[in-house]
């Protein structure tokens, strides 16, 4: 298995009136073919911005200030606009968190999916429509022959998310970026969508980056996990290794939250509130919220070190 996507020292900064916010601050990782890679972190940790940066879709006032995103040897940040348009949605596609706000409400979902197909594959309207029905069918969309004509508001959240996944799949992409694909959904639908993602990986061999704040979802699906905090990777390892042997205090807190949720334990020490992310000049990003912090932590920049085989952590105490 080779690398399909390698991200090297990617940095995306937001230039706001109150200062520079380093949403993504020098992250490096690679995605292997057929792998499900989970990115975990709280809101504001830069996980969604990582996904948008990969496709060079960062919104204003954000800018990608450095690094590279190599997709099969092509640097997506350097290639011309036309070329990346042919990649977005066709070879690398993205599933957003709230399907209701990403579909255009005045077109039917069938039209919107077939539009993507026609844009990328240059086929006739009729062929595109047939492909749409087929893809809707494959994501478990009930009676697609009739319901491809439905407008987004006619569908439930779970169905709309399926349509969104169908749209992401319609050109048979090599990489799927799924940004909190189940956050707005019921647990039963969440279970269905997660098994659909696993099925897509198994049947089509697509590689998936799954972004979430819920370690439960990671436990269910991911092969490898990256934990992000304040734009940096703080820990990276194989899923079972993270669960059995978490090293970074932040990862431990996240896992403790999940454990608390799952096992009915109250009053575990809670995380102090988030600090202002603008203009941070600290050597350990987690310093202010860490229960194990001591002055020595700020002496020098914490680097991502390989603690054991393929287990990286950004904390000198680990």
């Amino acid at each position: 298995m080779g690398h399909i996507l390698s991200i090297d020292n990617l940095r995306t900064y937001f230039f706001t009136p109150s200062g520079v916010i380093k949403a993504v601050d020098g992250i490096t990782f690679s995605l292997e073919c057929g792998q499900i890679l989970g990115i975990v972190g709280e809101s504001g940790s830069g996980k969604s911005m990582t996904a948008l940066s990969i496709l060079n879709l960062v919104p204003h006032p954000g800018k990608i200030v450095g690094g590279s995103v190599l997709f099969k040897g092509m640097d997506l940040l350097k290639i011309p606009k036309d070329t990346i348009r042919n990649i977005r949605g066709a070879r690398i596609s993205i599933v957003f968190q709230e399907p209701a706000s990403y579909f255009n409400p005045v077109f039917t979902i069938g039209f919107q999916i077939s539009e993507t197909i026609r844009e990328h594959l240059r086929v006739s309207k009729k062929e595109a429509l047939e492909a749409t029905i087929e893809i809707l069918n494959s994501v478990g969309f009930p009676s697609p022959q009739e319901r491809y004509r439905a407008y987004p508001h006619k569908l439930s959240g779970g169905m709309l998310q399926r349509a969104m996944i169908a749209m992401a799949l319609c050109c048979n992409p090599e990489v799927i970026l799924a940004d909190e694909p189940t956050t707005a959904l019921d647990v039963t639908i969440q279970a269905q969508i997660l098994s659909l993602l696993k099925k897509i990986r198994n049947d089509r061999g697509a590689s998936i980056i799954l972004i979430t704040h819920d370690f439960g979802i990671i436990a269910e699906t991911a092969d490898v996990v990256i934990v992000m905090y304040a734009g940096k990777i703080v820990e990276r390892a194989v899923t079972s290794e993270i669960f059995d042997n978490a090293l970074h205090p932040y990862t431990k807190t996240l896992l403790a939250s999940l454990y608390k949720l799952s096992n009915k334990i109250n009053n575990v020490s809670s995380l102090p509130p988030e600090q202002n992310l603008a203009n941070q000049k600290k050597n350990c990003v987690f310093f202010d919220r860490c229960s194990m912090a001591e002055p020595a932590c700020n002496d020098e920049e914490q680097a991502l070190r390989e603690k054991s085989a393929a287990h990286f952590v950004r904390c000198w105490k680990a």
Partner: protein, 324 residues
């Protein structure tokens, strides 16, 4: 715990007419709550779970009389409030409050949060200006917010802090009964754990009765002593929370429990049975409402209406297959 429930609803129904302006066409009705009996005792935390569309939020609103019931009776503090006029209801409203799902939407963006939290006191004309301020500060401290926060606007706060403001606002009138409608669904997992700990602590401290509405069973387990599972407007299973987790009987409860994401990759489950193509609303008129999704459905299920029956002590199930 005394034997008189704080709130007792019987045969509660709420139908919504969605036919639109063309009433000469076929009349379409959504039975959001379709015959529910519910008792919540003093100081009890009661969990209500179900998917979206199961009518759980509607039920919460009915109990607070934020929307009128189509049928049934609600007794709160030994008073029938089903048809009580708004003027006389106001006195009782102090005793019942709601915490909403989305703290980003439920606070007025142009009002300082201290003012938002004090609105209940203002509406009921309780205390002088000074006293109101004092009680807001005190309540903010109780929910873990510093006193400076009363001067802030909602956009200056994080999601968890906003939800704390909403909790302070709900508790400031010292209510007996609080409906918490998905209080943590919009929050990160770390913050969820904090807010849940806070709610549990406050529930004990003020001996509140809480109706906790959620789709995530993990959350119910934290707070609720008793849990009801709702499906398409009806309660299908009702039991002590621990009993429900250890020994779920209704196929729908089993499905919900099986859908909880695992806490460790070694607990990965195989696909649970849940058909993807079903029409939930098209259940047979005389049959079970879960029939289209049920893995153990038999022919008799389409002929017999499910009735909530007590199958063991304090464990009620509406499934005809599990009775006999």
């Amino acid at each position: 715990m005394n034997n008189n429930p704080l709130i007792n609803a019987t045969g509660l129904k709420r139908y919504f007419d969605i036919s639109g302006p063309f009433t000469f066409l076929k009349k379409r009705i959504v039975k959001a709550v379709d015959g529910v009996d519910i008792k919540i005792y003093n100081g009890e935390a009661f969990g209500l779970v179900g998917e979206s569309g199961s009518g759980k939020s509607t039920l919460g609103r009915l109990l607070l009389r934020l929307i009128p019931a189509s049928q049934g009776k609600i007794v709160f503090l030994n008073k029938d409030i089903t048809d009580l006029p708004e003027r006389r209801l106001k006195e009782l409203r102090k005793q019942m409050q709601i915490i909403l799902q989305n703290p980003y939407a439920s606070l007025n963006p142009r009002m300082r949060v201290g003012k938002s939290a004090a609105e209940g006191l203002d509406a009921h004309r309780i205390g002088s200006k000074r006293e109101r301020l004092d009680s807001v500060i005190k309540m903010f401290e109780t929910v873990g917010l510093k006193r400076e926060y009363i001067q802030k606007f909602p956009h200056e706060l994080s999601g968890g802090e906003r939800q704390r403001v909403c909790i302070a606002r709900a508790l400031i009138l010292n209510p007996r009964f609080v409906v918490a409608d998905e209080p943590v669904s919009a929050l990160d997992v770390t913050i969820q754990a904090q807010i849940l700990s806070l709610l549990t602590q406050l529930q004990k401290q003020f001996s509140l009765s809480i109706l906790l509405i959620t789709h995530d069973l993990r959350i119910v387990r934290h707070i609720a002593k008793t849990t009801a599972v709702m499906y398409l407007g009806k309660i299908v299973e009702l039991a002590d929370t621990e009993e429900l987790f250890k020994n779920p009987i209704h196929p729908y409860s089993k499905l919900l429990l099986a859908s909880i994401p695992p806490a460790h990759p070694k607990d990965r489950k195989n696909r649970t049975h849940d058909p993807e193509n079903y029409n939930a609303i098209m259940f047979p008129q005389n049959g079970c409402r879960f029939i289209n999704r049920c893995e153990s459905a038999k022919t008799e299920c389409s002929e017999e209406k499910e009735i909530l029956r007590e199958i063991s002590k304090n464990h009620w199930v509406a499934c005809s297959l599990n009775y006999k």
